[in-house]
Subunit: 335 residues, 2 copies
């Protein structure tokens, strides 16, 4: 088919200048309507494809957004962030942008090595997807390139988009209390990520509001500092409900409890968070909080594009509402 048709080819064929071709194809003023139609027809007929690279060079932007995901959040069993990535790509497509995935190795993160796509100016901005080391975020900020954090935030002055973890968890705990539960533990390493921390604090708020005690032995760590799952030590006696920081851990816990002969939800209610794959893999299926991944992706992309186009705007921390999904892992507790 068409080897390398350029605007010049169209121009020559029509006996006009490339300037007019460019204007016609880009819908810009300064071309007669009749001529514009003719240009478009010729372009289609010749199989013309825009050379975005030439356009990019002239305009000084790549129409690409880098997306950085730590390697530890990828791989089998961790589909969450790759699915997020897919949503990002689809949101970027709306703006005619492309996503450039960078899988960040732990040693590069530790030694503050920025992605190759940064050093090669292949991206106009970066979305950092999933909690990264603060120093690494700082290194990015130092470059002056637009950065948006997605699904986490730090105390640094950066735009970020996160699910409403705090209120989501608060509502979930409220729900358990409304169902009659009083002995409610939280499952998650509260020093691990901002999301887990906020979910923990929402749980705390609910307990405080209902004058229930905050018991340290009711905070059950589920992973180490590096995010690797660890064995969960259950308190004795078992609480009547466990608020888990995510579906995957809730799923693991349900399986674990059932192996020990403890019935869920009859003897112990369990709630998740995320409404991902894991929430429907066990029986009973999990009552959980759905974070609207798509809306988060769209918000992050919109913010990023806006920053690039009008480079002064700062959106700050943006929360995306969570929505409860009621299934069968919670049973009313008779008081």
């Amino acid at each position: 088919m068409n080897a390398n048709i350029t605007m010049r080819d169209i121009a020559e064929k029509l006996g006009i200048s490339t300037v007019t071709v460019s204007k016609a194809l880009n819908g810009k003023d300064g071309v007669g309507e009749e001529l514009r139609v003719k240009v478009k027809e010729t372009a289609a007929q010749l199989g013309y494809r825009l050379n975005t690279i030439a356009k990019s060079m002239k305009e000084g932007c790549s129409y690409n957004i880098g997306v950085v995901i730590a390697e530890r959040y990828t791989g089998a069993g961790h589909s969450f962030y790759m699915q997020f990535y897919q949503q990002l790509v689809q949101a970027l497509e709306e703006y005619q942008y492309s996503g450039l995935l960078h899988v960040l190795h732990a040693d590069d993160e530790a030694s503050l090595v920025l992605p190759r796509i940064y050093n090669e100016r292949k991206a106009d901005g970066f979305i950092l997807l999933g909690q990264l080391d603060k120093a690494y975020v700082h290194a990015f900020l130092g470059t002056g390139i637009p950065v948006t954090l997605l699904d986490f935030y730090t105390d640094q002055p950066v735009d970020s988009v996160v699910g409403d973890n705090f209120f989501g968890s608060y509502e979930m705990t409220n729900y358990l209390i409304a169902e009659g539960h009083r002995d409610i533990a939280f499952v998650g390493n509260i020093y691990s990520t901002s999301s887990i921390q906020d979910r923990y604090l929402g749980y705390c708020k609910s307990l405080l509001e209902h004058k229930l005690p905050l018991r340290p032995e009711y905070v059950l760590s589920d992973r180490d500092e590096l995010g690797r799952f660890t064995e969960i030590t259950l308190p004795v006696p078992l609480p009547t409900a466990l608020v888990c920081n995510c579906d995957q851990v809730a799923y693991n816990l349900v399986v674990h409890l059932q192996k020990k002969g403890i019935q869920v939800p009859e003897q112990c209610s369990v709630t998740g968070f995320d409404n991902d794959l894991y929430s429907t893999l066990c029986e009973p299926k999990l009552t959980t909080m759905e974070v609207n991944m798509r809306e988060m992706a769209e918000t992050a992309v919109t913010m990023m594009i806006r920053k690039i186009k009008h480079n002064d705007e700062t959106a700050g921390r943006v929360l995306v509402k969570a929505k409860p999904v009621y299934r069968n892992s919670v049973k009313p507790q008779n008081i």
Copy 2:
């Protein structure tokens, strides 16, 4: 930090030409060793970043590879291809290339609309990941751009990389027969994808070789033409073993059988294929065939880069070995 340092800035600072800077930075001949070092130092000190776009324009290639995945293979519960994508990106990184994901909508596939990144010349070649409509593959071939199929193939003359589905399934069935099984059914829609078809034929070969009958009622469809899972109708009496075309279906089947009170593997052995997430979600965990996703990704990338650099080479159909993973979903059958 550095706003927009170009080679010209380095050249001016050193009182030399940009040509020399370019040669020095790219490790090309024609620069004194001493000067080369000085150029590199200055570049680092100024925070110079190569403008790949300018380089691309000059050289006429983007250093991007498009990866097309049909939307039906994405989303929750379908992490397989997104994981594949991640492997591709990491393999591309070795060659200083980037991946550009395109999620193909069903209507674009049907009406043969090529991806925007094709029309904008943003990619030097395309990897088609996961079975697509033959007409769509044909549309791509018509453009003359390098194309490699990954995890499927057609009867068209295209390069492709696939797992060794035929022999993998053949070996798995051999194993069941060696364990004493004689009544073995195959689960999968054999008209749906080349992979399923080949896995079916491997199963057939094993039966033929052992002089076991090929029974039509032992071919159990698991999905419709569009790849959506359907209810599986089990034959009565139940075979002693079920060879499933993938782990996800094997997983679904195990859960389904257990709900009906049928014990796996005591009353019925089940095998999977892929060794993905689903193979370890049920109890018993699945005996399955692992396709080496990483090797497949690396092979596809290497083939693609080679095609772009020396544009005549054709690798044809490349098979990547599969490897059995023995777990607990198969029990010897006493004859």
